[in-house]
């Protein structure tokens, strides 16, 4: 029999600030029964009673802290459509329905002491929680994580201040050179690739599909690389089969996996780019 260990939480918005045009950081106050999230996990967020937009929105957990009486979950998100537009309009004190933490997050292999994080645009959201997680390990004398952070322009570089608290080595790239290097983030990483020994390196990435596909092309399955994928979702818990992603299964055959329940974090070498 399955243990009933999941619930729908009522979250109270304590802040919801536009940190860059079209990018917001929401802080939610949740009951203490909300579990500690693994980096890469997400929540389904919804405004109760609303029928248009109808579905919950999946958002990666950007930051998390546990207080004596409550938990604080922070969500960094980009206004991409009707649902996120409405979320952007929430004022402190508003209530939302939250389900989570959901999905399978990134995993840390202690033997791989070189940790590389590659974020494209809003893909920085799950990797920020990962950066914080790795820095706790760093304090135990392990290697610092190296972050490659890319965006179209300086205006779309988000999460940098947060990352700076945890990571000493951050390479910022923009498509137009308005901040950091004028380069695609994957190209900047590729220049450094030979510095990283495949046997001792773990790469964690999140970003647009072309970025992840380029990464797959340059790593050729030789590196341990976990990527967080995005797909439209309805249920977020693995029931609706809506958020399919094509992967190679254990036998090497094509299969569809659920981004919400089998992911959102997948081994890059398993993903089939259709």
């Amino acid at each position: 029999m399955t243990i009933m260990n999941k619930e729908i939480f009522i979250g109270s918005v304590s802040a919801n600030d536009e940190i860059r045009t079209g990018y917001l950081l929401m802080t939610l106050r949740l009951p203490r029964s909300f579990s500690d999230p693994q980096p890469g996990q997400f929540v389904m967020i919804r405004i109760a009673g609303l029928q248009d937009p109808f579905l919950s929105r999946p958002l990666s957990i950007f930051a998390f802290s546990r207080g004596r009486s409550h938990c604080l979950v922070r969500l960094l998100y980009r206004v991409a459509g009707k649902g996120t537009q409405i979320l952007a309009g929430l004022i402190p004190g508003s209530q939302v329905e939250i389900s989570g933490p959901l999905g399978k997050g990134y995993t840390v292999d202690p033997a791989r002491e070189n940790r590389v994080l590659i974020a494209g645009g809003i893909g920085v959201a799950p990797l920020s929680l990962m950066a914080r997680h790795l820095c706790r390990s760093e304090s135990r004398g392990e290697n610092p994580a190296v972050v490659y952070l890319g965006a179209k322009t300086a205006d779309e570089v988000v999460g940098l201040d947060f990352l700076r608290q945890y990571c000493s080595s951050i390479r910022v790239c923009t498509d137009d050179g308005s901040l950091g290097e004028k380069s695609l983030v994957t190209r900047a990483f590729q220049k450094d690739l030979k510095k990283y020994d495949p046997a001792r390196t773990a790469i964690y990435a999140c970003g647009p599909k072309p970025m992840l596909q380029a990464l797959a092309g340059m790593l050729k399955g030789r590196y341990f690389c976990q990527v967080s994928l995005e797909e439209r979702m309805a249920c977020g818990v693995g029931a609706c089969m809506g958020c399919a992603v094509a992967v190679r299964d254990e036998k090497g055959d094509k299969a569809y996996r659920r981004v919400c329940a089998d992911g959102p974090v997948f081994d890059l070498k398993d993903v089939i780019w259709e």
Binding site: E7, F54, L55, G83, V237, A239, M241
Partner: protein, 319 residues
């Protein structure tokens, strides 16, 4: 004092529990609320949110003879008060279901209804046969209506003769109650309902999703890779109510209402229109507790209207 109050509460709960019980084609349900096929997997995911024992029944994700890969993504798109899906009947296949999924459901004291699907009459029959031999399957629901798979689905459910033939083939393989799930994508729902009743169906459930299209204006492309998908959610409720009402007047077998049910009120509206029970689908996605909240709402309705049994309201629409 507390004990006494506890006892009386328990007694009244038992009383309303009896008042919620319904029977469909010999299938006893604790209450009229089931989960609709394809929206509740094989029960495992939502068992983390709610006690499955509280449900009237679970209709599992549609099963085919062989596992099915399903459609390429994107498979879903949100629409006003609903969503389109073109999952393409991705499922583990009947054999894996029996070995790996059904044992989990046997842990619960609920009606398990296996939804089945075939690409030919013979496939329907084979799947029905395999499931009928398995302890823990209490009824079959025959999907003659899925609009997503190009070769099958639609053609069976849209033609009274084909729908009747599927029903006969399945009935010939099983002693279990057979529910035929109808597609709304037809001109005359009553004709199909009557055809499957005549062919031996023990009950009908309706409606499956309505065929729809969503357009990405910027790209001038469909949002779904499959181009069209099945519309579900509150947007389709009036259509479903109308079809349930029409079909219920024409058949004497029980009708199960499906389509956009979000609340107890919605479910009760379907019963008034002629449904003996209901299935809840898309509502689960936005609220995993939708079914149990609905059952609680029905309980309150029974109390408020002093009903002996919820079936008293079935088909009481004044026209």
């Amino acid at each position: 004092m507390r004990k006494v109050r506890g006892y009386s509460l328990l007694k009244s709960a038992n009383k309303t529990d009896e008042a919620l019980a319904v029977e469909i084609a010999g299938l006893k349900l604790k209450n009229p609320v089931m989960t609709a096929s394809g929206t509740f997997g094989y029960g495992e995911e939502y068992a983390q949110y709610l006690d499955l024992n509280r449900l009237g029944g679970i209709v599992v994700k549609g099963l085919s003879l062989k596992p099915r890969l399903g459609n390429p993504p994107p498979r879903i798109m949100e629409t006003a008060a609903g969503m389109l899906n073109a999952v393409g009947l991705q499922n583990v296949g009947v054999d894996v279901f029996l070995e790996e999924k059904l044992p989990f459901l046997r842990n619960y004291d609920i009606a398990v209804i296996a939804n089945i699907y075939g690409e030919s009459y013979s496939e329907y029959a084979q799947v029905a046969k395999k499931l009928s031999a398995a302890p823990g399957v209490h009824a079959l629901e025959v999907n003659v209506s899925c609009p997503n798979v190009k070769k099958g689905g639609l053609s069976f459910g849209a033609d009274p003769k084909a729908a009747a033939e599927v029903t006969r083939r399945v009935k010939a393989q099983t002693q279990l109650p057979v529910i035929v799930k109808l597609t709304p994508n037809v001109a005359d729902i009553s004709a199909i309902a009557c055809a499957v009743e005549k062919a031996g169906a023990d009950a009908i459930s309706l409606i499956n999703t309505l065929s729809g299209l969503s357009v990405d204006l910027d790209r001038r492309e469909p949002h779904l890779k499959n181009i069209t998908g099945g519309l579900s959610g509150p947007a389709i409720k009036p259509v479903a109510l109308r079809m349930v009402w029409q079909a219920a007047q024409k058949v004497s077998i029980p009708v199960i209402g499906v389509g956009g049910i979000m609340t107890a009120r919605d479910a009760l509206e379907f019963m008034v229109a002629g449904a003996s029970a209901v299935q809840v689908g898309t509502a689960n996605f936005i609220n995993p507790l939708a079914t149990v909240e609905m059952i609680e709402g029905m309980r309150q309705y029974i109390k408020h209207h002093k009903l002996k049994n919820i079936t008293e309201i079935v088909g009481t629409l004044k026209t």
